[in-house]
């Protein structure tokens, strides 16, 4: 079963008036995830994905060897994935056995008006 522990939203106000690229503006990213941008809105993995990152993750994150253990979640590393966007790496982390994850992004639905 799916249990989203919590979904917290707050309107995020950012000052990107000094942005040096469209990539640095919230409007750009809101548009991407709404299907109006230059990248797929369903999912997109920036640069490269778990196939490349996993070896570093397993080598350097303490507790990586405990994800398959039976000791419960308290043995799991507590992972933060900021700027998650529509990156499927959350699913990769879940598939790899990590279950204690917090993900964050500044792009959300609240800025959208019909």
């Amino acid at each position: 079963m799916v249990s989203l522990e919590a979904v917290q939203v707050q309107e995020v106000q950012v000052d990107d008036s000094e942005a040096t690229s469209a990539f640095g503006t919230k409007e750009y990213w809101d548009d991407v995830y709404a299907g109006r941008g230059d990248f797929p809105s369903d999912e997109y993995s920036w640069y490269y994905g778990w196939e490349t990152i996993s070896k570093y993750f397993r080598e350097h994150v303490d507790g990586s060897d405990k994800t398959q253990g039976t000791n419960g979640d308290d043995q799991q590393p507590n992972i933060l994935v900021p700027g998650i966007g529509n990156d499927p790496i959350l699913l990769d982390l879940l598939n790899a056995g990590y279950t204690k994850i917090t993900a964050q992004d500044y792009s959300g639905r609240l800025s959208y008006n019909f």
Binding site: V12, F23, L80, A103, Q104, S107
Partner: protein, 138 residues
């Protein structure tokens, strides 16, 4: 604007992640937050064993000002001492990256990676300010 009731529009990043997790199913405890990375909650201080960011610092850097400094400080604050920060990044200039993470132990310098660099930093166990010239070990 009239929106038919069956037109269930999923907007933006957080909602997209909700979709992905819904289709994934299974048991997990995933918290999703919409927030400003420069001002992460105080109660997150020292809470995380690992941070994995892909392109976030790059986008924040491109937003100008001192946003990258604020974001890096905010993220490092949420790491426990000894925690690991994995940063996949290709836009932040290397001299600025050295400044942003000068108080971190450089576990892996990704600046020579062919694609975006995979940088790995570890938060020191004690608040000893390191004079770091990044050294890399692959």
């Amino acid at each position: 604007m009239f929106v038919p009731f069956f037109c269930f529009i999923k907007e933006h990043a957080i909602e997209r992640q909700q979709d992905l997790l819904y289709y994934y199913g299974g048991n997990h405890e995933i918290d999703l937050y919409q927030s400003d990375v420069r001002v992460l909650p105080e109660e997150w201080t020292g809470q995380f064993d690992a941070i994995l960011e892909k392109g976030l610092l790059d986008a924040v850097y491109l937003s100008g000002g001192n946003n990258a400094e604020q974001a890096a400080q905010s993220l490092v604050r949420t790491l426990r001492p000894g925690g690991v920060f994995i940063s996949v990044s290709g836009v932040v200039p290397e001299d600025q990256r050295k400044e942003l993470f000068k108080d971190m132990e450089w576990v892996r310098d990704g600046s020579k990676d062919l694609k975006a660099g995979c940088f790995i930093f570890r938060k020191p166990l004690q608040d000893s300010v390191k004079t770091s010239s990044p050294s890399c070990s692959h």
